[in-house]
Symmetry: D2
Amino acid sequence: MAANQPLRVTIWNEFVHERNKDAVKTIYPDGIHVALAQSLTRQLGEQVQVRTATLDEPQHGIPDDVLAATDVMLWWGHAAHDRVADERVDAVQQRVLEGMGLIALHSAHASKIFRRLMGTGCMLRWREAGEKERLWITAPGHPITEGLSGEYFELPATEMYGEFFDIPSPEELIFISWFSGGEVFRSGCTFRRGRGKIFYFRPGHETFPIYHDATVQRVIANAVRWAAPSGSPYFGQSRNIEPPLESIQRSHLADPSLHRHG
Amino acid sequence: MAANQPLRVTIWNEFVHERNKDAVKTIYPDGIHVALAQSLTRQLGEQVQVRTATLDEPQHGIPDDVLAATDVMLWWGHAAHDRVADERVDAVQQRVLEGMGLIALHSAHASKIFRRLMGTGCMLRWREAGEKERLWITAPGHPITEGLSGEYFELPATEMYGEFFDIPSPEELIFISWFSGGEVFRSGCTFRRGRGKIFYFRPGHETFPIYHDATVQRVIANAVRWAAPSGSPYFGQSRNIEPPLESIQRSHLADPSLHRHG
Amino acid sequence: MAANQPLRVTIWNEFVHERNKDAVKTIYPDGIHVALAQSLTRQLGEQVQVRTATLDEPQHGIPDDVLAATDVMLWWGHAAHDRVADERVDAVQQRVLEGMGLIALHSAHASKIFRRLMGTGCMLRWREAGEKERLWITAPGHPITEGLSGEYFELPATEMYGEFFDIPSPEELIFISWFSGGEVFRSGCTFRRGRGKIFYFRPGHETFPIYHDATVQRVIANAVRWAAPSGSPYFGQSRNIEPPLESIQRSHLADPSLHRHG
Amino acid sequence: MAANQPLRVTIWNEFVHERNKDAVKTIYPDGIHVALAQSLTRQLGEQVQVRTATLDEPQHGIPDDVLAATDVMLWWGHAAHDRVADERVDAVQQRVLEGMGLIALHSAHASKIFRRLMGTGCMLRWREAGEKERLWITAPGHPITEGLSGEYFELPATEMYGEFFDIPSPEELIFISWFSGGEVFRSGCTFRRGRGKIFYFRPGHETFPIYHDATVQRVIANAVRWAAPSGSPYFGQSRNIEPPLESIQRSHLADPSLHRHG
């Protein structure tokens, strides 16, 4: 990617609770996607080009041409995971394998796309008591922690998520949360799938103003930059390599009668 | 698991090539599953109780009660991945998450169940030239290498599989293969998903007598023992923990108006 | 290892606090090493052959012949890390690389041998308030969690250890601790070095009766069995392989003038 | 790090073979460090500020103030590992933990600093036949592979390094090498230690013009950018956190008689 091209970010939101629950509407009057878009644009300026997409749009707002023009996707879903078409999940998965970054936020742990990419159930313990969460940094020096000055940061009132969190072992564990009520959680986890980078970030919940928190916003902006496509191309297709790259010595070849097909 | 209970092993085979190709029939007259069953039984004796299952049986031979009574499953498929019912794939995945070991052999890299558990495409390069393969051990001391005395072992004539192999980064990389024709491959890879252990093992192909090779047989027997269910229970279900495990101090609770639902 | 040979376990203890502090003497009258030895013997019976070794013995009780006859070593140290001779640290490290398991307990995080094997500082936050610790299982199905029936286990009064814990990313993260006072900690971590397996287990401290706790004892016994030497030999020496394993085609060889030495 | 500050790179070279062997002098007349410096400067321009340091300079050219002013260090050594003062190795290790990137090249596998950071012996198999090496990419999408367009790249004549390579399991495995003579090698490996990033890159050897190869140069330049310090500060010091961050409930505190010291 040329250094002077903006990152093309698509923020996906099911956009359900913000329309049918007053408590949520108060916090995110235009939807979580718009709050996230404003935060990213304010922080990253011309480094990003942000668009949003929602469940009720045709093809959920993410037809193939939008996916093809997306470098990093943020995913928020909670109440309507099942309404996401499998065909679109297939398409997003394929784009991730090809190199698109994916940032799964909070309840997106149970989204079809996150579960698909993990291969596990991705379930967890939870409680909605509005308790304190403290996120400890376990990977100082990781680009996703850029700008965080302490050993931890806090959210005063959150929904609790607790272990056991049924994910594959994260490749990098960035944050572990402590909750007042007695639980812990792997709250910042990276994974690579194909050529794509994935970041799961726990903080959220639509009934708390989590995405108005400056540190949470900073982490998400960091993650967008970290998850940008990079490196060499994706060679994900099956391919027959005949003849061999090297000429194979006769002595290294089996009796051809052994492997003749049909 | 009690020490004196045999491991219950189910060997699954699509059982297609051995019936419709003479070259394969010659090598595995009763099917690859039977060759593997004989090898396991000969090596592990009363430590295992082996059964087989094939595609054409009702529910592919793996109805729920068979899965429930299986500790470790071996999976061979090549020509008929698409004929495996999604509903059975769901069931096998769930059993792996609950603790069943899964050993995916050779062309099972492209099976529905392996791709489901990996979350990636799992494709690779290949060539059927019958060339020499040398498997180097990169994790000495791993139980799966028990009984191997050298730095590597060889197979005189194999189908080549080459990188890029589109899997998540293995948790443990046990073998890397060298091929005469110029390729390398991550040939022995472990993964954990939920409570279950997974081992991918490259050697195979129905047109070579790979599963008659003593070292290959030994590695598979080792893997069966390694993949046996162990440890604490699986808490894979979503669960609300209210009230909190700890009484939460008033100062740690949000204004309840913030998080009232509905 | 033959199935009927007992595991040879050496429990190393600096054995300082138990002799010079009454509070510790009350809890471990014969030393932590003896308490651990009794627990292992009681649990594993004829599966193990346990000996102990302490700092003040000649060569700290671990001369070469003892190391050579040790399959798994437990290490406890707190007040006298600096008094361990570097020459013995070298010898223990070498034995780990060759396949000896090592279980580093609690304050052994700061021991020379653990820091040597990690390559990092291994420091952490701590507090001696006697607060509650809850250890959540993040790797159900791992042999080290065998016999634990719940999602977590608790210790009513412990010294706190908190993040940031300056270790390399663990290969398997088995437990994460929650502390009443507000911290979290990666409390059960596995690592492989050479052919050897390493388990760091946080619970401990000489002023609490942690090693009299049945669950802690169980985890340590599980870890001893998990850390036992296994698999293929260790090829840790540098070695020149000439001539090549394969005859190299002329076209693959450089102009010899390029690489003639001297 | 501010976006407009150049990365401060220090290239360390023992600078022995280039002075006492004609074959090496021909390839690197001013030393490998100068060849690397020219390549980095040509590729990264004002993004970097490059200096070099060699064994024979006072404090090996890397006194504390140079280390403090270094963001990424490259390390080349082969014939004189033992002549590097332990005191300087301590200092470099500490700087890596604090965030300095380290790129260990080829025979630096056996350097004191690399072995210190790994905790293992880091030995390997080798052969100086000038054979072909093919490096396969196993982590497409990793920033270190930026600009590589194929599935692999080749070096026509190299010293062979073969498995078993006695390192901890790499956090990311970027390249696996194939050699004509029959070996494989984990040739591009990343590790994190403390706040610092480490990249081991196999290609090299002083008797082949490896560091004049454009792809090798590109990978090294990519690695310099990847290894730059980033993220949150390093909290590597032991620290007592009293009083607790949270007020601990009376019921969570042990009988103080239990943990009174002295």
